[in-house]
């Protein structure tokens, strides 16, 4: 892997509530290199989005970053003052949100919002800013970008809006873009187009993406690397193809088994039993143990991070043995670059 642009080390974000301190992100570490796409995978409530907001410094009270480092090109973002952080946000590290219906202001023209985004970091005239906005729209494949600048968000389709949001994220050629489930609200065909566009952008501009999603099909076709989260912790990391072909953590295996495309029609779909535990009363030790078929007596204490010879890790006492063959029976298109 090339030199990491974004390196998250032991990040801890907690929310102080009446029910006690909720550790939404509990010692998360990962890194992503230039032009690479990291899939941050997990169920709802696993802390994926909070991780994204923590990196950007957008955690609001009662939440706070309790520890760890977020290194962007070697600079620790968690130590920055708010104004210094604002100058980085959007310029060096940008974010795209889940719902394209909600992330654009309904009463402002696309152009107005994009010009404001340009001028948040560069002192340029409105005319120059508008030109840059137009170029960014063209870059994400929006037809007749000049006219789109004068449109209001409600005049665009969901897919177009998400492209606009990605264009806004691209305005300052950031080193990293965090994408928080950006295609979840879209049609599958539109999702495919956007994924292909993102892969192309990562390859062409060298922008690194952290793609937060619960959708393994998306990750398997898009990401270079995978980072699986469960209850605020990273449970497994590794190259996407390897993790999907041969998961080492029982939770990853359970998630993969419940992807419908991998199964004979008419047979019962395997599920991970139980549901995501509430952060307010996590079991001691491994949080996944109560739902895990392989759990043993050692799981009542926090399991160690197991490092495997191929650079992969898993947070488990009883990791699954690697599978020798490569049954990557994915019928979906792959957007991964041939590397």
């Amino acid at each position: 892997m090339s030199e990491a642009v974004l390196r998250v080390k032991d990040l801890r974000t907690q929310f102080k509530t009446r029910a006690g301190v909720l550790k939404a992100v509990d010692g998360v570490s990962f890194e992503v290199g230039r032009g690479r796409i990291l899939g941050l995978v997990g169920e709802s409530g696993s802390g994926k989005s909070v991780t994204g907001y923590s990196i950007l410094g957008l955690i609001e009270p009662p939440g706070e970053i309790a520890g760890g480092e977020v290194l962007l090109n070697g600079q620790d973002l968690t130590r920055l003052k708010s104004e210094a952080m604002r100058k980085i946000r959007g310029a060096q590290i940008a974010m795209v949100f889940q719902d394209p219906m909600m992330t654009l202001n309904p009463v402002l023209k696309i152009g107005t919002q994009m010009i404001a985004a340009v001028r948040a970091h560069d002192r340029v005239s409105r005319k120059v800013a508008r030109g840059r906005a137009r170029d960014a729209l063209a870059k994400v494949g929006i037809p007749s970008p000049e006219e789109r600048l004068d449109s209001y968000p409600h005049q665009l389709s969901g897919g177009m809006r998400q492209r606009v949001a990605i264009a806004i994220a691209l305005l300052h050629n950031p080193a990293v873009i965090l994408a928080d489930e950006p295609t979840t609200a879209l049609d599958v065909s539109i999702q495919g187009q956007i994924l292909a566009e993102v892969r192309r952008l990562a390859d062409e501009t060298g922008t690194a993406f952290v793609w937060v999603t619960h959708d393994l099909a998306v990750v398997s076709s898009l990401a270079d690397d995978i980072c699986v989260m469960y209850a605020g912790r990273v449970v497994e990391t590794g190259p996407a193809a390897d993790v999907i072909a041969s998961p080492r953590h029982p939770y990853t295996a359970g998630l993969l088994a419940s992807v419908p495309a991998e199964h004979e029609p008419g047979t019962r779909l395997p599920q991970v039993p139980g549901s995501t535990p509430s952060l307010a009363n996590l079991p001691p030790g491994c949080a996944f143990a109560p739902r895990c078929a392989k759990a043993g007596p050692a799981c009542t204490t926090t399991p160690p991070v197991q490092h495997f010879e191929d650079g992969r890790t898993a947070l488990c006492n009883y990791p699954i043995e690697p599978v020798s063959c490569q049954p990557l029976s994915s019928t979906s298109t792959t957007y991964r670059s041939a590397s």
Binding site: L56, L58, R86, K87, I88, R89, G90, A91, A94, M95, F97, D99, M102, T103, L104, N105, P106, V107, L108, T112, Q113, A116, A117, A120, H121, Y152, H154, A165, I168, A169, L171
Partner: protein, 324 residues
Amino acid sequence: MIGFLIQRILQALMVVIAMSVIVFLGVYAIGNPIDVMIDPASDQALRESLIQRYGFDRPLYEQYFIFMNNMLHGDLGESFIYRLPVLELILSRLPATLELALTAMMIATCLGIPLGLWAGYKPDSLSAKAIMGFSVLGFSVPTFWVGLLLIMAFAVELGWLPSGGRGPTTEVLGMQLSITSLEGWSYIILPAFNLALFKLGLLIRLTRAGTIEVMSSDFVRFARAQGLSEGKVVGLHVLKNISIPIVTVFGLELGSTLAFAVVTETVFNWPGMGKLIIDSITVLDRPVMVAYLILVVFLFVIINLVVDLIYGQLDPRIRVKAAS
């Protein structure tokens, strides 16, 4: 847009016609003004001749049509008391009320929106709680009492400002205005502030509620993720989104301030329309009452029309609905 405008103007006309009937019937029901006007000792013949002269002996619908016909010709009748055309009488009082109402609305807006934005932006801060406390006082304490307190404090005790009346006027665009001179301002500032107090409280609360709602929306989060400064987030994204309820209330309040500034005008002895209408009611000066009410209807209709047009400018989604 044109279709929308025509539709709204037709609606406005219907409202004016309906209101003219209600006003006419209402005032008719109050009683025969002749009995109040003439000396109780005068004889029946004089009474009859006066009734005939003003047309009170005719059937009600005929009286209404004569009244409407005159109104369409710009003739709203003549005051029984002042012996002047009513329109002239009201229009001579209009500038005083107009400048008082507009100054009050300006104070309420220029203070209320920034204070409301702050209270909504930092709802848990001590200053925000102080602002909210003040806003509760603003619309729960009676206007006349605050007016009296203001006079006591600034005119009687401190002696900084005059206790009532209106400053010297100069003619601007055919209207007699007092806010052109510093002395005029010394007269208007107390009544205007008194009149503004209720609207100030209302605008603060409205702005705060809107700000709190918009601040938690996804597009504000997205704007922050783009690195927009907090000033830009509030000034561009929040303000534009909360402007619709603010414009609505502003319009309604402007109308009611123009029409019903009576209490403040009485307390501060301000020679505006409010005082005129109260005087007219006590002596049953029927033409003045009718004309005044018709004028108020016009005011509200026009303000609402303007507010509707501004909506379309503020929120593009409303334009789409109106066009379809």
